[in-house]
Structure formats: C-alpha cells, structure tokens
C-alpha cells in the first residue's frame, strides 16, 4: 500500500473512530472472486489498544453479478444485526469504493476445513452451525426487513419468480459465449420444463460454500464474501453448498465436503422449520452447475482478455466440461 494512501486511510479511520490511530501492520489476503482484501492492524494513540480490521475494495475487474461495495456493506449490516455469524461491519467509504469490517479468527482454507484431522471431532458441530446460520440468512425477507435496495439492483418487482429469472439470466449468458456448448442448451431446455413452483423469496448468500466461511478449533467463526447476495429461492444456497466442485475431493460428503447431504438438510429443516423439496433442490443444483460452468468460461476470459492474467485463471477454462458433465449426470440420475 503506497504511503500516501496509507496516510490518508489513517486520517480517515481516525475521523471515523473519533480517536487518533495508525496502521501498524498490513497483510494482503486472497480475495473473493474479484476483490481486494487487506488485513490491517491499527493502534489507537490514546491507550495503545490494537484492533484488527479487513479492508475490502474493488480491483477493477468485477464479475457480472458482483454487488457494489455499498450494497454488500448494507447486507453485512443486516445479517450481522440478525446474529448471523459474520464479521462486524465498521465503516463504508463515502465514495463507496471500500469498507472496513472486523477481522475474525480462523481459516477459510478448504483443505484444512475438509481434511485436517484436528477438525475431525468438530465437523458435526460445524455442520450444525452452518445449517443454523444458513436458516437464519433465509429467515430474512420482505416480511421483516426493508430489502427494496436489492430489488432495484436486479430491476425486479416483488413478488417475482426466482427460478424463471435465473433461467432468463443464464440464457443470456450462454448465448454470449464464443464457443458452442450444446450441453448448456440441452440443460437450459430441461430447466425450463422443470421450474419449481410456489417459490419462497428471501435473502440468499449466493456463494455459500466451503471456502467462504472461517473455521477455527472452536467451530464456525464467520460467513464471508457477501458480494453475490441477492433476493432469491433459498434452495439455491442449499444446492450450491452441495455442488460436486465444492466437495474438494470428499465426494461422498456431498454437503460441502463435510458430511452427507441428508444430515445437513435435516439440520437445516430443523432450524428453518421448512421442508426441503427434492425437485427444487435438483433444479437449483443443475442450475448451479450451469452457472459455475459459465463462470469458468468467464474466469478464463479474464486471463485471455488480459484483465487479470494468470495460470490459475487460464486453467479454469479447461474445467468447464466437468460442470457440464455433472449437470447432465444429475438429470439422467433423476429420471
């Protein structure tokens, strides 16, 4: 971080806290899909108290569905207020380019969360916490919160049909792809014939998966990365969590690579008071694989267009077929 920017941030923080402070430590973290996260430690001059914060900002290569920082900050405020385990939001920049939030302990490393032996006895408790917190997220709706700002982002009128909207969005995305993907068109047809009915509409995390929450030896420390949050069908989150690509090698533990799907869904049903519809889950899991398949093409494009060059992004383009194969397999197995 350049000195000039660091000084200006220190002045801004001092104003916000109404106490003189300075940044004593900085550490760049791996970001969300396209954001910059910096762990910073500040020291207050009056009593040398230290506080760890995370600075979160755009990098300039945003993905199509990523929320602006001010909207993400508003969501963070709502969910934190509701007692959902997530970092406490501190301050939003007046130009809406960045915000500061609490730095929480733990790791989001997927190998640690799904495979480390030190978490073996903790994992059932972790899954219970995840189910409870996800149910809390899904309890946030128009009935109990002002969510108009989320309707406006997507030009929705309430009520709307989340699966229909998601389908139309995917059709547009697939049509814009350079290369031919017949699997995607076959699946779009299937999705259109299998739209869930009577959909619940609530706050949806949008990227609820292993890798987007922090875990310590005590359990769940916080859910991260609200940049894809939106109004939608809660089954979208439930199925995304179980996508094959988010099991990180633990294929039989369908729920996030942590536990069998049935156990996770039973816990969720207990906390949410809602019975899960397997047809709806199938729809959203197929949709999730399609969405991620399109996402892998977009990631490779970021490299090819020179926006963010790197071998990891380039290589992702060669993984599209995995999600295409999986979405076809899900449909075949359901029939």
């Amino acid at each position: 971080m350049k000195d000039e920017f660091k000084n200006s941030l220190e002045n801004w923080l001092s104003e916000k806290f109404k106490r003189q402070c300075k940044i004593v430590n900085l550490n760049y973290l791996s970001g969300g899909a396209c954001l910059e996260n910096i762990l910073m430690e500040i020291e207050f001059s009056d009593n040398q108290e230290h506080l760890k914060l995370v600075y979160r900002s755009d990098t300039g290569s945003t993905l199509y569905a990523s929320l602006p920082r001010d909207i993400e900050f508003s969501i963070l405020e709502i969910v934190h207020k509701r007692g959902i385990k997530t970092p406490r939001p501190y301050f939003l920049d007046e130009n809406k380019k960045f915000f500061l939030m609490e730095a929480i302990p733990g790791k989001s490393d997927v190998r640690y969360i799904t495979k480390d032996p030190s978490l073996n006895s903790l994992r059932p408790h972790l899954v219970d916490q995840l189910a409870e917190n996800l149910a809390k997220i899904h309890s946030i709706s128009f009935e109990n919160e002002d969510l108009d700002f989320l309707l406006k982002i997507n030009n929705h009128k309430y009520p709307f049909h989340p699966s229909q909207w998601a389908l139309e969005e995917m059709k547009r995305e697939v049509e814009n792809l350079d290369e031919p993907h017949p699997a995607m068109y076959l699946v779009l047809n299937w999705l259109e014939e299998n739209l869930p009915q009577n959909e619940k509409i609530c706050l949806v995390h949008g990227d609820f998966r292993t890798g987007n929450f922090m875990v310590s030896e005590k359990g769940l420390e916080g859910i991260l990365d609200w940049e894809f949050a939106h109004l939608g069908n809660p089954d979208e989150d439930l199925s995304w969590f179980c996508l094959k690509d988010w099991r990180f090698g633990q294929y039989k533990k369908e729920a996030g690579g942590l536990i069998e799907r049935k156990t996770f869904y039973e816990l969720y049903e207990k906390y949410s008071g809602r019975n899960i519809d397997p047809h709806s889950i199938l729809f959203w899991e197929v949709m999730g694989n399609l969405r991620w398949a399109v996402g892998t093409v977009a990631q490779a494009e970021r490299h090819l267009k020179g926006k963010t060059k790197g071998i990891e992004l380039a290589a992702i383009g060669r993984r599209t077929a995995e999600m295409e194969y999986e979405m076809m397999r899900l449909i075949e197995n359901a029939i």
């Binding site: 031919p180 017949p182 699997a183 047809n189 259109e192 294929y251 071998i311 990891e312 380039a314 995995e322």
Partner: protein
C-alpha cells in the same frame, strides 16, 4: 521444420522438471506451490491433447455429421478440423433450440455426453470415476 525432440517430448521434459525440481522447491510457499501444480497439470493435459485430440476431432466430426444427416469431408489440418467441428456443433445447437430437446434418451443428448467424455479424457481423465 523443427528438429527433435517433438512438442510432446519437450512438454514431457518440462513436466518432469516441474515435478522433480520445482514442486519440492516451492512447497513452503503455498501460492507458488499451487501455481506450479496447476502448471504441471496443464502440461500433462497438453501432452494428452497432442497425443489424442486430432483423432477425437475426426471421430466427432464423423459422428455428428451422421447425426445431422450431412456428408462432410474431413479437413486436412488440425485447425480446420476444429473449425469444422465448431460449425457442426453450432448446427446441433440450432436443432436443440428449435426442437427444445431436453431428454437424456435423445440421440443429441447421448452424443453431447460422449463429447464431454472425450473432452474429460484429456482435461481430467479421473473425473468420471469420482
């Protein structure tokens, strides 16, 4: 004309270098180690591609042209084969859209699944087993 070693043999040498020398060297740097692993994996994919892709393209052009009731000549060069297959796939997509095909029993579905299996045989041969 390039002399020996050929592309496959050079990639094989790079793959060995990454595996035997670099991966061990980077093991204390998580990010660098991950990038090296990804690079090594991509080199292996390219080796399989050089070995198998052209024949796969020929087979797919044959099968798809038969499925679409077309008589197609197989082009000479690799790039032309790839372009021909892309044209055929666009015709397939047109049919899928117009006829709203969505059944796993349909020949277009079965062909598309086979297309993906061929793709994965190069990009991730162990994927289907998992």
């Amino acid at each position: 004309m390039q002399y020996k070693p050929n592309s496959y043999e050079i990639l094989e040498a790079i793959s060995e270098f990454l595996r035997k020398d670099i991966l061990n060297y980077t093991k204390n740097d998580e990010k660098l180690s991950y990038k090296t692993l990804v690079s090594w994996n991509m080199i292996n994919i390219l080796m399989r591609e050089i070995d198998q892709e052209e024949q796969i393209l020929i087979n797919e052009i044959h099968k798809l042209s038969k499925l679409l009731n077309l008589t197609i000549e197989i082009p000479l060069t690799f790039i032309q084969k790839r372009e021909r297959l892309m044209e055929l796939l666009k015709m397939l997509i047109k049919e899928i859209k117009e006829k709203k095909i969505s059944s796993p029993e349909h020949p277009y579905w079965k062909f598309t699944k086979e297309l993906l299996k061929n793709n994965l045989s190069i990009s991730n041969p162990r994927y289907i087993e998992k």
